[in-house]
Amino acid sequence: MGRVIARDLRLAFRAGGGFGLGLAFYLILTVLVPFGVGPAGAELARIAPGILWVGALLACLLSLDRLFALDREDGALDLLATAPVPLEGVALGKAVAHWLTTGLPLSLAAPGLGVLLNLPWPGHLWLGLSLLLGTPALSLIGAFGAALTVGLKRGGLLLSLLVLPLYVPTLIFGADVARRGAEGMALGAPLALLAAVSAGCLALLPFAAAGALRINLR
């Protein structure tokens, strides 16, 4: 599993676009929002946590369709399936690599982008924390969706259709943490639920993803 992570990270670094693309998309999305809703600071501050969460979610989606598709095309997935490593580990490794190249940088960038949307101060911290806690679930759910659609020629659009409804609980709890953090409210409950969603995804989805991969490799 570690080797899969290391290889995918190295490939992402070499290819250049790996990190940058998702981040650039996130930045542009954040910049566009005030043009859509107007420059009033109070208005922006109110919607900032939600916008920044939805933006991170969409940025996560960008690179998902290549998660297994590249390995499928060049045969690496076939070879990994016959290698003495569990496919569950491979699926988890790919999801972790995806998180390290998208979820983690997005989480770190989000507090900075919060400044653009006039997010009140303690909100930055909670936004970053909620994304750190929630984006692993997004990557794991995405890996499951990518595994389902890996055999399809144009699976990208279908992937979004499958994955976005699965993102609902994570988005609700994550954005709620960020919103409550910005408004200075108690946020223990959504924080715990968000962590629970991520932990549950971590425990279950690598198996579902590996199962879907096995079906697709037949």
Partner: protein
């Protein structure tokens, strides 16, 4: 290397739900090569994928299991963004083996080891894909048209590597149209063309 023989007993395989081969029965002892022949579409690749465990046979028994088998396909899983040495190091790590230096030398890739795989010529890339087989440490090699895009020197090197593998008691099943200078048991798949009704029909869809 102390390998069990490769035994196919009454194997039937399907491609896209359509049976292509049935009743394939053959045995290759350690140290021998199995040369698969047959026109395009005869089912060479499908049979090799089935032996590799990538798809289940629709009938028959295959021994040994997939954990003894290394599959060398055209899609060889090499990443263009990684160097030759990094690619091999990844697969050596996955299989828990070593010997990257020997594998590079065997295919004359040593001076290219720091080059990114995407900058290799087609023939060099093919050699890299074949070098991976040495790192699997598995006794049974399945080779699907291994010499495509190899030059004369490459074919020669490949022949040497396979002969050395057989000399160590390994087994190779090779689907090829060219003479590799490897003595082996020929297996003409034209004789095993599937004639029975598709598996689908057996499911009582006649309603």
């Amino acid at each position: 290397m102390n390998a069990p023989p490769l035994v196919l007993d009454g194997v039937a395989v399907a491609r896209g739900g359509v049976p292509v081969l049935e009743g394939v029965t053959v045995r290759a002892d350690p140290g021998t090569a199995l040369i698969l022949r047959g026109p395009n579409g005869a089912g060479k690749t499908t049979l090799l994928r089935t032996i590799a465990g990538l798809q289940a046979p629709i009938a028959g028994e295959i021994a040994p299991g997939p954990d003894q088998v290394a599959y060398g396909a055209h899609a060889d899983g090499m990443k263009g963004g990684l160097t030759v040495a990094e690619n091999l190091a990844f697969w050596a790590g996955i299989h828990g083996t070593g010997g990257i230096g020997e594998a590079l030398d065997a295919f004359g890739l040593a001076r290219l080891s720091e080059r990114a795989a995407q900058h290799l010529s087609a023939g060099q890339a093919r050699r890299l894909g074949l070098a991976r087989l040495l790192l699997t440490g598995r006794p049974v090699w399945l080779l699907d048209e291994p010499t495509v895009s190899l030059d004369a020197e490459g074919v020669g090197l490949f022949g040497q590597v396979v002969r050395a593998h057989l000399g160590r008691g390994g087994i190779a099943a090779i689907a090829t149209h060219v003479d590799l200078g490897i003595a082996g048991v020929p297996l003409d798949l034209a004789g095993f063309r599937a004639r029975s009704v598709p598996a689908e029909g057996a499911l009582a869809w006649d309603v």
